[in-house]
Amino acid sequence: MFSIKEDRSKFPTKKADGTLDIDLDSQKYVKIWQGPNHPGITGNMALELTVSGDEVVQSKTHVGYLYRAFEKLMERRKFIQCFPICIRMCVPEPDINEYLLAASVEELGGIEVPEMAEWLRTLVLEMARVTILLRGVPGQGGTMSLGMGVQWGVYVRDLMLDRFEELTGGRVYHMYIAPGGVRGLLPSGFKDRMEEVLKKVDEFVVDIDNLMFNNAVFKVRTKGVGIIDKDWIDQYSVVGPNARAAGIMRDVRKDYPYLKYDQLDFEPHTETDSDIYARSRVRWHDLQTSVDLIRQIMAKMPEKGEIRAKTPNVLHWKIPKGETYQRIESSRGEYGFYMVTDGSAYPRRINLRGPSYNSAMVLLEKMLVNANISDVSSLMVSLATCPPEIER
């Protein structure tokens, strides 16, 4: 309906070495920067776009605006001291880092976490997924000026943050899952208050369906746009919702169950079109899955129990020499910590492997070629990049 006819003559030709022959003096091309400050992305990241008319002919992703050496800092911290740092590697979904740090330390340190703590960890991780998706799902509309959904999402997210606050003592940085266990049981009446929030999420899910997914403009701007080729999925290690939107079932919760996921009943959603719409739609389903999971967890978890395993004194907790890779299904897909220990009280190396790196540094650059300028942010957001995860 609104398709733009391509005029291939505008496009640069390839040089002998395979790079594009872009001569800015030819006045056929303009370089514009999107970012590093851009509301569509959590944190700072810049796209250096070379455009011809309103079409992108080349894109280069620039990161480095957020670099605070988290991984390096952790090499100078005792294991327990790492958990207030690692959360900063993904601000909107910090809990995944807490969990991975804890799981790695526990795996290498031979610590078995109490049952109750495992349930609480599962709960908090799903709460975190709801929290990030409450912004991420409507955020797709936001990139095309449909800001209303974002505002609704932010409101419901705030209610979820209230629950985080009463459970963990913090709204954004929860610092709840610490090596050895979790830092508190559910406060009394928590489940009822949580149910109230979940009802609001249910309403939001319907509202956003009406506002965004059944919206002619949204459909036109997202269907058939930004397709991730099925062949690329393996080639570029596309994971999580981005893979599932292409019809490829990839979910760590199912593939390599951790915590209590094997005791929960859920089926991650898949789509087939692999376009922006499909990816959005998968996340919208993920949101509902998480809500359902929270209800299941609250029903199944024990009322009482130990919250922390016995560990050595954290001030000189030495972890035996070893290495481990621990993974988790984040809202963006597989997210892992590779930890190496040398028998000392400090991690020798912690390396984060998150999906954002591939999304922003490889996929996005590829996908933006031939894209319309007005679709750039939409495309970028549809991959759900979290820049601090790229620069640790």
């Binding site: 790492c82 207030p84 049981l185 002619a216 000189h316």
Partner: protein, 597 residues
């Protein structure tokens, strides 16, 4: 694409008739959740300044600083945490690790000021409106970042130990010692309190690193009797241990023993003298008495290069450690291990020489450049109640000495011990063993003025004495020893109501109507010891004495006669570690004195 896709978004209009969700009243605070991690609070009286908060803070946001009005005392560094909100990330690890639970967070989270410096503050000291807030983060229940129970020490079962004098505390295994050492938070309150200021956290760290040789080296810097102290030290360090506030203090004493036990005597020279260079000095020092103070002075003087010689009136070295403390607590071979090493460092010793009798003090002054005297408290003290002059009434220290000397002592079937201190427990338990050996049963009873809860003996001594079937019946004042036909029949006692007056002076009050009779054939008095200073009679008028009859010394344990240094029980204590400490200080004092001479 359908007509629905055109109409559906308009459903958003339904929100028009809904109440807005944003806060309508921006001026009133929204209180933080009950667990909120807001601004710091600290109960200054409860805080002991151990610095665990500073240690765990990964942002280095906490500095321990001196605070006006808070003194440095035993068990309190006098420092308090100052928090820098330019660095803090409110993770509350400081709260979770706090040794006394004094540090908490309030649920307050707004603080506006134009002066950036105010955000570096001392919670509890710099008054804040949230100081009294009841809500906020406290250490979660059942959530501990450290272990607060001791690793249990294996001991011989009472039935295995009550007939013999073999050591009943078994000592830690490697795993046990490492687990116990792991609980230390390196606060150093122990070091400050230990009379010898031993580097306790450092040698505990050596255990964690499984480096016993390093541990031994660290111990010898301040204490040349680690096997002994590792068994019988009065462990003042443990009373102030920060971990003791939330649970059981570290078994510092047993850890010390663990290190010393791991290094065989044959390796001591190699371990302790690695890279050691001693320049021999021409001056000579005489030491009277081979108790801990004398041994410690001798060891450190010999390390400084002085020729030192100990004069000991008894046939073996160790003083009260050998001739007082029973061998089931401190075996002779362990005393020997410590002393042999000291003697191997060039310290000379002459036994069976009593200064004042065999050699005069003047002679010593003439032959030596300085003299250190640590002659201890070896005279028994009597209750002087009627009957106490009977031949079957003994002093505890005399009996204990005889036992150590290997002399057979009189052990009757029914014995009463008067006294409630550790010495009384030692003689009670020793007599119980001897009765068991002789009669196959125990019938010894210890009684004292103090009620059970204020008995001066260590709790475990009382418990263990009872386990060994001795009777401990405290809270009675001895009236007289009943004697019939020249034979002791028992001890008459009356109820003791209080021991000290309001000013804390010894002034026991009795209820004469409440009487009791403890039948016995033999009575042992163990109500303290006195000193025998007759050997210095000839220089007495040149010395200064305190009101309580003690020789006055300066901080280097130097008396008013510059060449005469005094230490051990006759100055301060009475315990081994004080003797070691003042022997060491006196050695430094003697070195200073001789350098000037």
């Amino acid at each position: 694409m359908s007509i629905k896709d055109i109409l559906s978004p308009f459903s958003a209009w339904k929100k028009v008739i809904k109440d807005p969700v944003t806060v309508k009243d921006p001026f009133n605070d929204r209180p933080g959740a009950p667990r909120y991690r807001g601004f710091h609070k600290n109960e200054l009286d409860k805080c002991i300044g151990c610095g665990a908060c500073e240690e765990i803070c990964q942002n280095a946001a906490i500095d321990m600083v001196p605070v006006e009005g808070i003194e440095t005392v035993e068990g309190d560094s006098g420092l308090r945490p100052m928090v820098d909100y330019g660095r803090c990330c409110w993770c509350a690890l400081c709260v979770d690790i706090c040794s006394t639970n004094s540090l908490t967070l309030s649920n307050e989270y707004t603080w506006i000021d134009s002066d950036p410096d105010v955000f570096r503050f001392i919670p509890g000291y710099d008054k804040k409106e949230w100081d009294n807030s009841k809500l906020g983060w406290t250490k979660p229940k059942n959530y501990d970042l450290n272990t607060y129970e001791r690793v249990e020490m294996k001991e011989l079962h009472p039935e295995e130990r009550d007939k013999s004098f073999i050591e009943f505390v078994k000592g830690y295994s490697k795993e046990q010692a490492e687990a116990e050492a792991d609980r230390c938070i390196d606060c150093g309150l122990c070091t400050a309190t230990c009379p010898a200021h031993m580097s306790i956290p450092e040698y505990i760290k050596a255990i964690r690193n499984d480096d016993m040789e390093e541990g031994l080296r660290i111990m010898y810097e301040t204490n040349p009797l680690p096997e002994i102290c590792g068994r019988i030290c009065t462990h003042k360090c443990e009373t102030v241990c920060a971990i003791g506030h939330k649970g059981e203090p570290l078994s510092i004493r047993w850890l010390k023993r663990y290190i010393a036990d791991q290094v065989p005597e044959s390796k001591y020279k190699e371990v302790l003298e690695q890279g050691l260079e001693i320049t021999p000095k021409s001056k000579k020092v005489a030491i009277i008495g081979s108790g801990p103070s004398g041994l410690s002075a001798a060891y450190y003087l010999s390390r400084m290069g002085y020729a030192t010689k100990i004069f000991e009136s008894l046939p073996e070295a160790g003083g009260m450690m050998r001739y007082g403390i029973p061998s089931y607590r401190l075996p002779y071979d362990q005393i020997d291990k410590d002393i042999n090493y000291i003697l191997s460092c060039g310290v000379e010793i002459e036994y069976n020489v009593k200064i004042g009798k065999d050699i005069t003090i003047e002679q010593l002054e003439k032959d030596y450049d300085a003299v250190f005297s640590g002659t201890g408290l070896h005279l028994g003290r009597s209750t002087r109640i009627p009957g106490s002059e009977h031949e079957n009434v003994f002093f505890a220290t005399d009996l204990l000495r005889e036992i150590s000397l290997g002399t057979e002592i009189k052990v009757d079937e029914k014995i009463v011990v008067i006294g409630g201190g550790n010495v009384a427990m030692d003689i009670t338990r020793s007599l119980a063993r001897l009765q068991n050996q002789k009669y196959g049963k125990v019938d010894v009873l210890a009684t004292c003025l103090e009620a059970e809860d204020i008995m001066p003996a260590d709790r475990e001594e009382v418990v263990e004495a009872r386990e060994e079937k001795a009777i401990v019946d405290p809270g009675w004042g001895p009236k007289d020893i009943k004697i019939e036909n020249g034979k002791i029949k028992g001890l008459n006692v009356v109820k003791c109501l209080s021991v000290f007056d309001d000013e804390g002076r010894f002034s026991p009050k009795f209820d004469e109507d409440k009487k009791k009779f403890f039948p016995a054939e033999m009575v042992v008095e163990s109500i303290g010891q006195g000193m025998d200073l007759t050997y210095i009679d000839s220089i007495k008028d040149k010395l200064e004495f305190s009101d309580r009859g003690r020789i006055v010394v300066n901080e280097k344990y130097q008396s008013s006669l510059p060449w005469f240094f005094v230490g051990g029980d006759i100055i301060k204590g009475p315990d081994v570690i004080n003797g070691i400490a003042n022997g060491h200080i006196a050695a430094k004092g003697i070195d200073e004195f001789l350098n000037k001479k």
